[in-house]
């Protein structure tokens, strides 16, 4: 039984703002699935329908085999959620929040362990009102882990976290997944999804434009990798054309930008250049996921809309995403 399945799931806000358009998506048990897309693509709207925060205009969604609209409470018993746009009652403490979660879920977790796992045990008895965004995010993540859920739904989980926090969260997610938890994880940041997910889906303008593993997507999109080398002086006559796999070379002042068709070619480029010039710094970008992303999303909603086209409607959809 798939952990998440949607059939023709559609949400139209107002008269004609199509936030999610005829979405068919299947997430298998035990997967870590990355749900990718620019802001306003409909990710949160989709998640909100899975959680029955909002009701689909058409189509249906099953979570853990249970209809999301008919019996959301039974679904909530078995999932952990880090929602987007959550807010706390600032008068309660983090410990009280975790205790409330444990109690409501009928779980047996020790609140202290949960608070420790997400690194806020030292501040557990302070009122949440005084928490930084990152600490609030950690607490929300901790709450989602209570009761060892069968499925974790994490909506933009790393927002507000510092690099350490993000790293730690990834480890926890991998651990949980290794124990059989399905993870459904949305993000607009590519590197994050790449680092954790088995499979990704890219959403754009309410439609799923690609679903595959990162590697396959990269192949299909035909993206190239690039490497920047900063040299001591402006390089000249390097003869890079003789290195196999080099697609393009540009020189700007002392910085050499080389585009290669495969990441493995980068080493050859560095070796070749260091033989002919003094290399001061190396900046390497893995197969430009950014490009990959742009291939599928056309650079996101902001850039590809013709001027005047559905101006008001687009603004509304964006606002939805921001406030959601």
């Amino acid at each position: 039984m798939p952990s998440i399945q949607t059939n023709g799931l559609t949400k139209v806000f107002g008269e004609d703002v199509v936030a999610v358009d005829d979405l068919d998506l299947t997430i298998e048990e035990g997967e870590i699935f990355g749900f990718l897309g620019p802001n306003g693509a409909g990710k949160s709207t989709t998640i909100n329908m899975l959680l029955d925060f909002i009701r689909p205009t058409e189509g249906s969604a099953q979570v853990l085999g249970i209809d999301a609209q008919e019996n959301p409470k039974r679904i909530r018993e078995r999932i952990g959620v880090l929602p987007e746009g959550f807010g706390y009652d600032g008068n309660l403490t983090a410990r009280e929040y975790v205790e409330w979660t444990v109690q409501t879920k009928g779980a047996t977790d020790d609140p202290t362990e949960i608070l420790d796992e997400v690194g806020i045990l030292d501040d557990a008895d302070r009122k949440v009102g005084g928490y930084s965004k990152g600490m609030q995010q950690r607490l929300a993540f901790g709450m989602s882990l209570v009761g060892d859920p069968d499925l974790l739904i994490l909506d933009e989980p790393s927002s507000g976290l510092d690099p350490n926090g993000i790293q730690h969260m990834r480890e926890v997610i991998r651990e949980r997944a290794a124990n059989g938890t399905t993870v459904f994880f949305s993000s607009h940041i590519l590197s994050e999804v790449e680092a954790v997910c088995d499979r990704v889906g890219v959403m754009n303008e309410g439609r799923m434009v690609a679903v595959d593993t990162i590697d396959n997507l990269r192949d299909q999109a035909g993206g190239t990798a690039s490497i920047d080398l900063e040299c001591a002086s402006e390089p000249d006559n390097l003869g890079l054309g003789s290195v196999g796999g080099v697609v393009d070379v540009t020189v700007e002042d002392a910085v050499l930008s080389v585009e290669v068709e495969d990441p493995s070619v980068k080493v050859d480029v560095v070796n070749h250049v260091s033989d002919h010039a003094e290399v001061v710094d190396i900046l390497s970008e893995s197969t430009s996921l950014e490009e990959l992303f742009n291939t599928y999303t056309g650079g996101g909603r902001d850039s590809d809309r013709a001027a005047g086209e559905a101006e008001g409607g687009d603004g509304l959809a964006d606002a939805q995403e921001v406030s959601a």
Binding site: N48, R76, L92, T104, K105
Partner: protein
């Protein structure tokens, strides 16, 4: 049970909010002041009469003050969770929307009930100390004021379920106070009765129908409160309302000439007892509509 978990958490949060303590304190101080002054040693009337008057005065004060307290305590009950995003946590956990709605209603009823209780404890203590007694009508008044508070909790929580932002919640709370209290105070021109009569008689050209106007006026919880109080108070302290609907006006006047008092006869929908029906209406109908609406809302 998750309804109670919602209630407990909400109550805990509200209990720590300063605004509510301030409002409760204000309520207690105002009522305490009334009690202190009523117990002035130079008073003329008997202790029993003074104590009874005091509780009557407290009830009158509560009839227009308590709705403010309740609206302040409840206007954000659900709208606030929607605006802040607290609803996301509530509904990510195994709570149904019904659990949230009912839990909020119970918690806020408890909050308002506690405020009323604190206020009455102050009044009762001062009544005992300064006057030396509490009146027989005390329990009835406490029960009535509590019921009245619950009616407004029902109205305020339901209104809160209708809106998704703080500003609209404030607007609807002010509107509710205006519609349910201000225009029912009996102020000439801007009272419900004048407005309805104007629309019905002067604009539509229908024959005057005082029973109808009185009935519409009676739909206000404020009027129902005054009428319900008549059920508790002794005959001589009852407020006379709807005189233009009395069926035995002539007999009452004749009896009054002879120094006797006889009870007015009114259509059943204008009797004191009917106030309980009005309360039941305001307790149940807003909750039903608010719940219906909340069940269907997109909470994003």
């Amino acid at each position: 049970m998750s309804t109670l978990a919602v209630t407990r958490k909400d109550f805990k949060g509200v209990r720590r909010a300063k605004t509510l303590w301030l409002v409760t304190g204000l309520l207690a101080v105002l009522s305490g002041l009334l009690a202190w002054v009523a117990g002035d040693p130079g008073r003329m009337a008997s202790d029993a009469a003074v104590a009874r008057d005091l509780f009557n005065a407290i009830a009158v004060l509560m009839s227009f003050l308590l709705p403010i307290v309740v609206l302040v305590a409840c206007y954000l009950a659900i709208a606030g969770e929607r605006e802040s995003g607290g609803i996301k946590f509530l509904l990510s956990l195994p709570n149904s929307r019904r659990d949230v709605f009912v839990g909020k209603f119970l918690s806020r009823t408890l909050v308002v009930g506690s405020s009323v209780l604190v206020m009455f404890l102050v009044v009762i203590a001062l009544s005992l100390v300064r006057i030396g007694t509490v009146p027989g009508v005390m329990l009835g008044i406490v029960a009535l004021v509590t019921l009245y508070g619950a009616v407004f909790v029902s109205i305020a929580v339901s209104l809160s379920a209708f809106v998704k932002t703080r500003s609209r919640a404030i607007g609807s709370a002010v509107g509710a106070y205006f519609g349910l209290i201000i225009i029912n105070l009996g102020i000439p021109v801007i009272s419900v009765k004048s407005i309805v009569s104007y629309a019905h008689h002067d604009i539509l050209g229908m024959a005057r129908n005082p029973d109808l106007y009185n009935f519409i006026w009676y739909l206000s919880p404020l009027v129902a409160f005054q009428k319900a109080k008549n059920l508790i108070m002794p005959l001589e302290m009852r407020s006379t309302m709807f005189r233009d609907s009395f069926r035995n006006e002539a007999e009452i006047e004749a009896a009054a000439m002879n120094g006797r008092e006889i009870a007015p006869e009114l259509p059943v929908y204008l009797t004191d007892e009917f106030s309980l029906g009005v309360f039941a209406f305001w307790l149940v109908v807003p909750l039903a509509i608010g719940y219906w609406r909340f069940q269907r809302a997109d909470l994003d």
